[in-house]
Symmetry: C2
Subunit: 274 residues, 2 copies
Amino acid sequence: MPQNDVPLSEFDAATAVHRAEGGGLVTVLDPGWDVGGGILNGGYLLSVVARAAVLESPHAHPVALSASYLRAPAAGPAALTVVPGPAGRTLAHSHVTLADAGGPALSVNVTTATLGDDESVWSEPMPEVPPVEECFSVAEHRELAPPGVQVPGLSLRVDTRLDIATAGWAFGQPSGEPVLRAWMRFSDGREPDPLALVTFADALPPTSFSLGNLGWAPTVQLQVLVRALPAPGWCLVEATSSEIAGGWVDEDYRIWDSTGRLVAQSRQLARAPR
Amino acid sequence: MPQNDVPLSEFDAATAVHRAEGGGLVTVLDPGWDVGGGILNGGYLLSVVARAAVLESPHAHPVALSASYLRAPAAGPAALTVVPGPAGRTLAHSHVTLADAGGPALSVNVTTATLGDDESVWSEPMPEVPPVEECFSVAEHRELAPPGVQVPGLSLRVDTRLDIATAGWAFGQPSGEPVLRAWMRFSDGREPDPLALVTFADALPPTSFSLGNLGWAPTVQLQVLVRALPAPGWCLVEATSSEIAGGWVDEDYRIWDSTGRLVAQSRQLARAPR
């Protein structure tokens, strides 16, 4: 537990889960983690769910989460219902529902485990990317944002430095390839951990920005895998899409830590912006 | 409905779901879709779940399924409980539980929709692979199987022709790279559809075979996305792993149809064989 004189990081405060009288888990969803228009980021919501799952698990870390996004919950009070599944020495299963006053918003299958310091038998290498100081901060360049590109609360709290090669859309010159790459860390310096990786795994702008389509791409289903404990420092986050058709788009994230180890993966199905 | 004189395909028979008296959905899990040792294939089980979800949905196709594999169910009777979520013109959500006499085995978030003939805005191209007749059928080469490699029921029902470049493990010469690629279709000639793709998305041998590790890799969580209606003929299925560490492995599938269009993706977290 943090000492009284050490304030919680923005992330820890915004994802805090408490046990209410009666034993149920509750949270207060923070309006500051939006992606524009009052819509809360899907990764942020999933981090709240992961925290609830870990609270009810014998294991310390979320290693796999698969969520259906049923509806966008409002900022404010929300309840978390954790139904435990089989639990063993290696891993534990649960199903978590996040609901606000309007009803269930997320239905999530969660697997928890305890990650250690195991070395990789196989690890996909990190792509070549310019150093952080040569990358592009959307939050610091609001004046360059084209009409329709909002600077959401999320990008004030998650410091996102885009590889210029994938940031052309911010200058009206989309690359034409659905790929985004960025260095990422919390703006207040909180170091990454498995809960943070769950947010990072949905924190880039939509890949369709790179095709010149600057609309919002609402998540339908999102799976996040946490593969290792991340080292302190910047993470490299890459998102790509494999198929865009019929109003659907996939986004496939890989996240490497500051030592170059692959520490998380995610894949989502989203509605493609018009 | 099939006419009386047209027998169901093996796949349609093995994944059939019926409404029991009282209204619940039931199935009989077929022992012929095993991966060895009486363990039923995870993709096969997910196709049964997808069929149940579609039965209770206004939409025709499973487009996203995210499953936690709680325990391995036995062949024989099983019940499917579908809890409908929000449903609209574009998509519908549900949560499906598959349970046998031993209790819940799969917990699955399902999204259904109705796929059309939309052209791709973006589609990842199919990799170069030798033609089917130059590829390697494990089922036809049992005599080459090294000790410990079983020819499971699954590979008798799903005709799997491995790209020789990724089949070295069958000859005692593993490639050392966790990549498998194969042409795939049902052995009885049934054409692919979204339900079939759900099985194909977990039907290759474990990628760790390519590292010379011929043990079973039990699925912990599996997400399958169906991106388009597949054309008739062989599908190309590719599985890769990005990180193997601490007893965990990911498997990432991409499936192209006979026209070269990406029609499905999956990602699973599994326990790595010792």
